[in-house]
Symmetry: C2
Subunit: 365 residues, 2 copies
Amino acid sequence: MARVFNFAAGPAALPEAVLRQAADEMLDWHGHGLGVMEMSHRSPAFQSIYTQAEADFRALLGVPANYRILFMQGGAIAENALIPMNLLGDRRGADYVVTGSWSAKSQKEARKYGEVHIAASGEAGGFTHVPAIETWQPSADPAYLFVCTNETIGGVEFGFDPDMAALGRPEVPLVADMSSHILSRRIDVSRYGLIFGGAQKNIGPAGLTFVIVREDLLGRAHKDCPSAFDYKLVADNHSMYNTPPTYAIYIAGLVFQWLLGEGGVAALEARNIEKAARLYAYIDGSDFYENRVAPDSRSRMNVPFFLRDEALNATFLEESTAAGLIQLKGHKSVGGMRASIYNAMPMSGVEALVDFMQDFARRKG
Amino acid sequence: MARVFNFAAGPAALPEAVLRQAADEMLDWHGHGLGVMEMSHRSPAFQSIYTQAEADFRALLGVPANYRILFMQGGAIAENALIPMNLLGDRRGADYVVTGSWSAKSQKEARKYGEVHIAASGEAGGFTHVPAIETWQPSADPAYLFVCTNETIGGVEFGFDPDMAALGRPEVPLVADMSSHILSRRIDVSRYGLIFGGAQKNIGPAGLTFVIVREDLLGRAHKDCPSAFDYKLVADNHSMYNTPPTYAIYIAGLVFQWLLGEGGVAALEARNIEKAARLYAYIDGSDFYENRVAPDSRSRMNVPFFLRDEALNATFLEESTAAGLIQLKGHKSVGGMRASIYNAMPMSGVEALVDFMQDFARRKG
């Protein structure tokens, strides 16, 4: 069958070039006579893959030298616990900005380990906007302030890197879940104390977690934190305190190489702006579909939309799938539709989706 | 280059047939128009992969109906913490049988969460044998008794499923790290409360952890256990409380299918007995090499051996690598050599190794 356009929220579409290279190298990586999945993580061959992947990730994001990049396991849901276990130290608690399902889940998990203060929330508006930073109210002495800079389910994205200094609280480390928009736009890493996410949306396979952490935040782990998830032990052992998910790191490395070849994050950002603009413009101009997120908070990666006549939902999904546009069903907590258009989704996929939506609206409207 | 014989302890060699199928299906799984790495974990396609993998794993090992199979992340090193976090409940501690590096590491990590009683230890003999079960001395009321049934580094393997009932302690759940010999021999799962391991030795890619747990042991997690690693939550959500390592589960599933096609665990066990016997017999008959493990405790999977003249180690490694026999260096804590001969290593690989060893001994002896 021809390749479909896959709008899944994650695990999600990967660049064809990456998959082709992975298939080609499956039994024999660079003439070594074995595949990457079979390589000892301590072997020079895998070490070279690891080192290149880390360096490319660092280059793509412009990660400063005083930050460590950790490759871990468990996804963002595990990190929701591991972050307070690693960062609370002797503080009583931490601050959370709640902008949707994922940050709500993060703050709930954190309550197992300390006090949680909600510094800002988009709940009153039905989680359709990012509260302006001027309205955030941090507590007196939080261990960190947590944000989810792209809410995959609600389709709400921070259009800015929060500036804790401008808020008068430069001492508070900013922690950001960037699972679903990492590498989709330029960011100023120096604004953050820690950036983390699951790889399965915009980087590579499920089962790989990235943590980018400022060095001064290492070494604060609670004694109950499992050694395998103690950021300092992971950093000191270059993510090999336990056996890392080697094949997932290799695929991530191929994605990083692909991104560099495409012109890096700035080039992808321009493309993502264009893709999202095309889709939102069509939705906004239609009286058949709608998006309910405030324009300045709309995600470039996850575009939820509703058919004004929800009775047509099942037919829309059936026909779009038949047309090779798959995984458009919205998250069950939100309903409607959602198109996830990560880096690997080409403009042609967005055009095909808009064409289908237009045709469907014409026929059913 | 031709495929090498890869004697790595893990990640380790995989069956060529599995790698070929994975390569073939990389861009298009069964005509669905996308690869497995790109599939939503909630999609019917991936659910079918997951369900089949779990059923095949259950069938291969004969897992009784009152046990749950969990697919997790973090490897055995993470489980060293997650096991006490999940199983201690209201008990003060647990018992450990120490037979080498891995069980020593396990009991050390457990001390973070409770009292550890060493019920038996092979330390006095330099970790060259498994203490006879009759000599084990469990404590009064342990939450569980822990064993590592195959010590990957020392090459020490339990040749039996410990019978806690015969020891007069049927109420104590037996917990076993089987990372490096799972599926290599028939086992009686009903003897165990929990069996776990990393997949990267005898199952598939690094980044996948299996936990086989008796249902009555679920629901005891400490409040500080991260939700993503709470066995009950993982079980209740069919290993999808967080996004599972989907591609690793797919590869594991292909390995399970391969094993079934080869005749299942009993057939592999017969082959493994033959492979190990060939290698140990040559070593024992040689005055150039030696293995120091007690014959009844020798591992069929990991065969450490020493050159009696250690000055030849570097030359041995150089020449064996050049001959396409790779990763024979012993673990740094032991020295010497180690040949890991998991299920995916064919008899021809063992024959090639013995031939090389003979030739090397003849030339240098």
